[in-house]
Amino acid sequence: MAASAIAASPKVELRDVSLRYFGLEGETEALKGISISIAPGEFVAIIGQSGCGKSTLLSLISGILMPTDGAVLVDGKPVTGPSRKVGYMLQQDYLFEWRTILENTLLGAEIQGADMAKARERASGLLTRYGLGQFLHHLPRQLSGGMRQRVALARTLCTEPDIVLLDEPFAALDSQTRLALADEITVILRREKKTAILVTHDIGEAVSMAERVIVLSRRPGRVKSDHAIRFATADGARPNPLAARNASEFNGYFNTLWQELEVHVEG
């Protein structure tokens, strides 16, 4: 009984959340009546057209923004500000050009006043695992876009969050790097059993990476639909994103989601 109760309790929960931005010209409704529940270890993608409030949703979960109405809960507790449980990967790497790769990775630990000796060890471990071991003392400008985004991942994971928010983390990369890195990052996040929430407008990325895709309507964003993404594999395990793109189910999901997004263009 107790075990099933724990399994059932969501990691992240949004209850009837609305957000309005205030400006002198008036208020803008960004999100309206959003209710989403995400289980521990789940990988969820949120798709929608630009301006539908996807990024705003992540800012709410991360505690940078407070909802105008409703409640955001992490581990059953209301979010009151940025939490150490939540890591946030932004659209670009935003590495500080005056810090080395290692120093950039340590930014979160420094801000949170963590044990720096341990953080340093963890950061160099992560960077080494992501193939950046010999670049610890290089500066960001010496690295390619894909390498920089992997540093950004290390920076996010260095503070050991349970939940990782990904805001179109591959948007700034070329398409080949994008596919390769999406694959790598998905494998890393699953292996470390993180709860992940990916925001994207790329349907293929959503279907290949996530096990659940939520479609948001146009502004004000509401939950339009919620799809479980399942692939039949020999061992029953979830295929990696590159393999998922070749699975027979991929196109079906892609077309369903495509049509849902298409509706909004007309409406």
Binding site: L90, F96, W98, Q112, Q142
Partner: protein, 276 residues
């Protein structure tokens, strides 16, 4: 995945060597032209007065400067050595722009911290910057006395533009870098220390370039009025007794001082920018 860009080639190609040589020649040409301009200027300054095309009493000439400089080196009961004058001017300038930098960073940080404060002070800062500060030299003399009025003028002439420049540098920090720090729960003080200040180093150097020059102007103008020491005073004194040699020697030393300041700041800039 992609590798770090630069792959050094084992043996340089002839095309690369030719390119290197063109680079070196271009560099040499710039330097030679700079020296040539200086030489032409000095030659004209020497020849035109000697040929009596311009009145030598008004312009003096370069060859007269060295003997004048040597005679001014000795201190007399009426007049300290020119080195003492130079030191007084340099010291006041350094104090002026150091003060302007420190005050500029502090005020810009306060404005960054409180947008309300910025909105309140913005028109005053812009107007204060546009005021001709040199008009205040006599007032500063009365308020602050001989020495402090020079430091005051040096600061006053450079501090407002420093504040405005540094503040606009703070504003120019990518808001997403600040958002990134916020995702880790950074406080406003941490954002200032870890993002805004280190990210504004190029702006700080640019502000230093501007205000070092302005501070020197402030010092010399202040010395015209109020001092019995400093190159500004020496120039004023020379013109009052109509000795152009003294005036021109003072101005030449000012030119040398500002060249050295330029070199020092360029060196600092290169040292700072190596990290970017």
């Amino acid at each position: 995945m992609s590798k770090v860009e630069s792959m050094a080639v084992a043996a340089p190609s002839p095309q690369y060597l030719a390119w290197l040589q063109r680079q070196r020649r271009g560099h040499l040409f710039v330097r030679a032209t700079q020296v040539a301009i200086l030489v032409v200027f000095l030659v004209l300054w020497e020849v035109l007065p000697k040929a009596l095309i311009v009145n030598p009493v008004l312009t003096s000439y370069p060859s007269a400067l060295w003997p004048t400089f040597v005679s001014l080196l000795k201190s007399t009961p009426q007049q300290p050595s020119i080195l003492v004058h130079t030191w007084a001017t340099v010291l006041a300038t350094v104090l002026g722009f150091t003060g302007a930098m420190m005050l500029g960073i502090a005020v810009a940080a306060a404005l960054w911290w409180s947008n309300t404060l910025y909105k309140v002070l913005d028109p005053y800062l812009v107007v204060a910057n546009a005021m001709p500060k040199t008009a205040f030299v006599p007032i500063f003399y009365i308020w602050l006395g001989a020495t402090m009025s020079i430091y005051g003028m040096s600061l006053a002439i450079s501090v407002f533009i420093t504040i405005l420049m540094i503040y606009s540098g703070f504003q120019g920090i990518d808001p997403n870098k600040i958002k990134l720090a916020q995702t880790f729960g950074a406080t406003k003080g941490q954002i200032l220390r870890k993002v805004v200040l280190p990210g504004s180093v190029p702006t700080l150097v640019a502000a230093l370039k501007v205000n070092a020059g302005l501070s020197l102007v402030g010092v010399v103008v202040g010395e015209f009025q109020s001092a019995n020491l400093g190159l500004g005073y020496l120039i004023q004194y020379g013109s009052q007794i109509f000795k152009m040699n003294i005036v021109m020697t003072g101005i030449t030393i000012l030119a040398i001082v500002s060249s050295l300041m330029y070199l020092a700041i360029s060196w600092l800039e290169a040292a700072v920018m190596r990290r970017r």
